[in-house]
Every structure is written in C-alpha cells, then in structure tokens.
Amino acid sequence: MPIQRNVVLNTVILIMMLLVTAGIEMKGTEMFLPHIWLVPLFPLAASAVMLLFGRKLSNAAVSGFCVGSVFLSMWFGFGAIFELIARPAAHRVVEFALFNWIPAGPMHTTSGHLVNFNAQWGFLFDPLTAVMVGIVTGVGFLIHVYSTGYMAHEGGYYRFFGYLNLFMFSMLTLVLANNILLMFVGWEGVGLCSYLLIGFYFLKKSAADAGKKAFIVNRIGDAGFLLGIFLLVGTLGTLNFSEFRGAILAGHFAVGDAALTAIALLLFVGATGKSAQIPLYVWLPDAMEGPTPVSALIHAATMVTAGVYMLVRTNAIFAMAPRALAVVAVVGAVTAIFAATMGVLQNDIKRVLAYSTISQLGYMFLACGVGAFSAGIFHLLTHAFFKGLLFLGAGSVIHAVSGEQDMQKMGALSGKIRTTYLTMLAATLAIAGIPPLAGFFSKDEILAHAFRANHALWLVGWITAGMTAFYMFRLLFLTFKGASRVAPEVERHIHESPSNMTVPLIILAVLSIVGGWIGIGGRFERFLEPVTQAAPASTAGETPEAALMIASVAIALAGIGLAWFLYIKRTELPDKIAASFGGLYRLVYNKYYVDQIYDALFVNRAKDLGLTLGAFDRTFIDGLGVDGAGWLTRATSVISIYWDKWIIDGSVNLIANVVRVLSIPVRWLQTGRVSSYAGFIVLGVLALIGFYLHAAGYTLANLRP
C-alpha cells in the first residue's frame, strides 16, 4: 500500500478544507447551520448507492463513496459546531423543519386542551446536539477509515459500508431530530443497522442469532419507549422538544406528577433496551459477533449512548419526576457494578470490553439519575474516545494474531505491535480514571454528584471504579505482557496493522489524553446549560471534592496493583483462587446464568406460543380452510363433471340421437331402386291431382247425382 502518498494526499486535502472553511467563517455568514439537514443525507446517499450498485464497485470505489460521505458529514457537522459556538450563548439554538411529516390535525390532551398534532421532519441544533454530532461524525469518520483497513480482506465489503453509512444516517437523524417521533425513527433505524451489522457474517449461526437477539431485546425496550411517546403526546399535547420543555417550565405541572412520572419511566424502559442496562443488557455481549469496527462504533461510541442522549434531551420531564430519576440512578449504579463483576472473569477480549461498556453506561445513567445531566454527557464524550480506541485496538490485536480472540492465547505482544500497545495503554489508563487523562475528569464529576445525592450510590460507583481499573489492566497484561501463550503458527504472522488502522488509533489516543480538559473549570457544563437548565442540580451539600478525587485515584491504583500482582508477578494465583471459590467462580463466569433464566422464562415461552399458533394454523386455517376449500372445490368439480358428462353432453347426444332416429325412415326412402321412386312419383301425382280437384271445387259431395 502506498502509505506515504495516501497520507500526504489526505493531509493536504484536510488542510485545504480547513482553510476554505475558516475563510468562509471569517465572512460572517453562516454557511453550515442552515444546511445541517445535509449532514444525515450524505451517508444516506452513499448507503443507497452501495445497496443498489455496490456489488459492481471495486473496494476503492466503495471506500471513496462511503468514507467520503462521512467526511462530508463531518465537515458540515464541525462547521455547524463552530458556527454555533461563534454565536452568543443565548442564541445557540437553530431549529427548522424540512416538511410536515404527519399533520394529523386537532386532538384533545388528557387535560382537555385542544392542540394541533403535527409531527415534522425537523432539525434542532443546540449545544447538546453539537456535542453528539461531533462525536458521531468525528469518531464515526475515524472508524470508517479504520474499517477500510480492517475489512479489506473480507467479503461483502460494499455491504458493510452500505450498512455502516445507513447507521450514520439513522444516528444523525436521531441526534438532529427536533421532535421525539423523528428521534424514534432514528432510534429504530440504528436498531435495524445494529441487527444488520451484528449479523454481518450471516452464514455463522452464532452471529445470526446474536443479531436477532439484539433486535428483539431492543424492540422490548422500544415498546416502552412508544408507550411513553403516546402518553407524552396525550399529556403534553406536543412531540416537539422545545415545545414540551416550554410547557413544563411554564409550570403547568406539579413536581412528582403521576403522568410525567409514568412517561419518564416508560422512556427509561426504552433507554434500558438501547443502552443495555438491567434488565435488557443481554444483547450487548452477544453483539460482539459482529466485526470489531461495528463494536467500536455502534456498541461503544454511538448507538448505545442514544439512550443517555434521549434522557438528557427530555430532562425536563425527568426533572419533574424525582421518583423516576431515583429509579434511573439505582438501575445505573446496579448495572455498573453488576457488569463489572462479570467483566472480571471473561476471557474473550471483546467480551471484557462489552461488559465494560455496560458498566460505563451505568455510570452515565447514574449521573443522569442524580441530576447531573451534563456530567453524563461529558462521560459519554470521553467514553466515546477511550472505548472506541479500546475496541479498535482490540481489533488491531485480533488482526495481528490472525483472528484469535481468547486472551489466554495471547501474551508478550507489547514489543511486537508497539503502536497498538501504546495506544491501548493510553485508553486503559483513561478508563481507569488516572489523571490527567480524559476518563478521570468525567468519572470524577459523576462520583462527586453521586456523593452529593446519596452516599450509597457513591460507594457503589467507587467500588466499580476500582473493579474497572482491575479488569482493564488484567486485559492489558494478559494481552500484551507476561509470557507468550500464542500458538506457534500464529506467532510467525504477528505484525502491526497498516496505517489506515493505526492512524485512527493514534488520533483517538491523543483525544483520550486531552479530551477531558474541556471539562476543567466547568466550561463544558456551562456550554450545555441552555439544555440542562431545567434539571435541578442536586442540592449543593458539602462536597469534599479533593478527598473524593484522591479516593478515586487511590482505588484505581489499587486495582491496577492487584492486576499487576495477579497477572504479572504471581501468574499461578488466579487459577488457584478460581479453584478455591469454585461455585462462585462458575456463577460469575457463566454471567449469573441470566441468559439461561431469560430463555426459560421468556424465550421458550414465546417459542411455545409460536408452536401452538403454528399448530392452530396448520390444523384449522390450513386444514379446514385451505385444504377444506380444496376438498370442497374437488367435490363440486366432481358434481360438475357428472353434470357436464350426463346432462350437457347428454343433451347434445340426445339431439344427435333424435336426428338419427328421425332419419331412419327417411333413409329407407333412398332405396336406390328406380321403381320405388316411380311409385313415389305416382303417389305424388295422386296427391297433387287430389289437391287441385279440391281447389277447383270437385269434392266428394258432388258425386251425388
């Protein structure tokens, strides 16, 4: 691969575009903000091209279309972000509609008001959207570039990028939507793309099953989400975010209102499905069947964060429902620690990262639950950097060891794949919460707010932080350090990944290091204030901030130390500990048998219902209905045959026979003998004469003399 030429070319293009953009911005007229509707359209167009013609295109053409479309989205997106920042704080909101999507007309809300129901295809760009668009397009672009290297030798290259671009379109629609119904469209779209991409290797049964599982579990959450939307429309009379935020802030509703609590809980159910919280997290570990870039983009950086985004978007409702917020916080905290325990014992490198993602998402929900919405978004941002980097790095490692994913068969790779090792080290330090990397700032802010709200929540979060540090460094040590447990034929092929894979790693590593610094001094929180102002910040109690920070760092170092001890110093200990805690070990290793419990309770029951319905269908619908109709048709056709044969044909034959019978005497006249004919002639003469005589009046009566 001509590395030097590509790098130089791409850098030149990038610099030129930056200059052009800067120049346009200098002029003062906003170029990007009015055109943000193009941002989702670029990837949609590329996806359509891929799915219609992609088969005939070369890999280079596919890459050009798809990576190029995301690049354009990124350019427009970042341009819009800069333009938004350039505006004064009070005017940082742009909203407009492309067209009226469902103008259904007047309807009554539950409180009796008459409102006009109108769902638009509209766009909203405010600070929160800016953050999300930045993450989605930026990290998305880096992952697209990475994929050109990772998927280079895979079949279905065009299909992968087609789905990936379709995902970008859905996700961007989700974050740019100005009303909850359009957000739901994007929500469903990302669910669909998740299914398509998880089951990308569709010939592998486990991959196909994982895709189905993801989609079905998502749908359960979506049922709750949809009910929440209905209740929201009924109660508040509008779907538009700005409008219902306005309605709530105007004070029409009391704090703790039952309807709002119900809405909040239902929306949270949707969020648990999409963002893999208890009880709907079971699909995320299985989703690792998909290609690693998919795991990085969808299951780390963007899709799973949609739940958090949705919560923050509707924070006005949640602020009015403290009970719902409490539920959110508890579920988040419990999920965080629960997932962390499972991550400690997994051996598949991607599974560890999957449980880590669930755990970190728990942190984000914990933040939202205690009212620190901007802290949740901040953690979302930093998480996108280091988790994306971790997944991409894992992909790079897997690429290096020819597809091996079991950490027990890796080891001593740090010298052989240096770039991957160093970037992953940066990411692991970030996720462990070591200052001054990104993860420290965001996690610390969450723990501070949690402490302010409830000490128990803080404790759970603190312990989870220690466990996170432990299992992440366990991953690092098992993969890169220690003795080499690599299979001999794999060892020969260990090589560093090409530059289109390592450059995104490096960029993300830099972001993981410096990304947290925008939160210093509360700058990030102030930036998001217009969106989160409705949320009552938890009562400013005493927060021993410095002590908390030291505590966090201490437990993180403790976790790292334990990992070093067990996996570098005394590597025989883990197995001994596992043996002595046999039962507990097996329980946790098998993920508390949750999948099996769900199977028995729900999945098999649903299958049974399906079988019953199938039997019903076969017996009654097919049997009586279809087969019965067939039998009836055949029976009537038999009658029809007889009718046709005996009566229709019979009457035809009857006519023929009548003619035949009538013609018998006529036939006998044809004797062929002249004498007979002469006799008939005489007979005719006789008759004729008699007729003429009669006509002339010569009747028998005149015979009397």
Partner: protein, 100 residues
C-alpha cells in the same frame, strides 16, 4: 255416339296400365315400354279434345310429345346399354348404386 267420355276413359285405362307397368315390373326395358304407353295415352287424350274443340293445336302438342318420346327412348336405351356393360343386368332392383 262416341262422346268425350269414351276417349277419356280409354286414355285413362291405357295410362293406368302404363303406371302399373312402371311401378311393378323389374325389367328396365319393360319399364321404358310402359312409359311409352303412358305417353300414348296422353296423346289420345289430346287428340280427342282437339277434335271436339275444333282446333289443331292438340295435334301439334301430340307431335311434340312423340318427338320427345323418341329422344327419351334413345337416351334411355343408351343408358341401359351402358349400365348393362358394367353390371350385366337389366333388372331395376339390381341397379341400386344410390342405395344408402
């Protein structure tokens, strides 16, 4: 005096005998002869009326009938000869090629 009736009845008698011959006999030649008898009967009728009306037209008609009888006899006998060559028979019963 010999009235019209006498001649009419004579003509009728000859006519009937001729009819019997045509319908009854099997030999074709005899059938032809019977036809000649019929024609003769008609001739007698015509001439009788011609005498009693006083015009000569009956005679003229009778001449035509005789002419026609001659032609017919000639052709008929030719046919009989032709048929006899094929079938070796002069019996009308056996000339039934037109029989169904």
């Amino acid at each position: 005096m010999i009235g019209t009736g006498h001649y009419l009845f004579l003509s009728l008698a000859l006519f009937l005998i001729g009819v019997v011959g045509v319908v009854t006999r099997r030999n074709v030649i005899i059938i032809l002869m019977s036809i000649e008898l019929i024609l003769n009967a008609v001739n007698i009728n015509l001439v009788a009326f011609s005498r009693l009306v006083g015009s000569v037209e009956g005679h003229v008609f009778a001449i035509f009938i005789i002419t026609d009888a001659a032609a017919e006899a000639a052709v008929g006998l030719g046919i009989i000869i032709a048929f006899f060559r094929n079938r070796e028979t002069v019996l009308a019963d056996e000339m039934d090629l037109l029989k169904w």
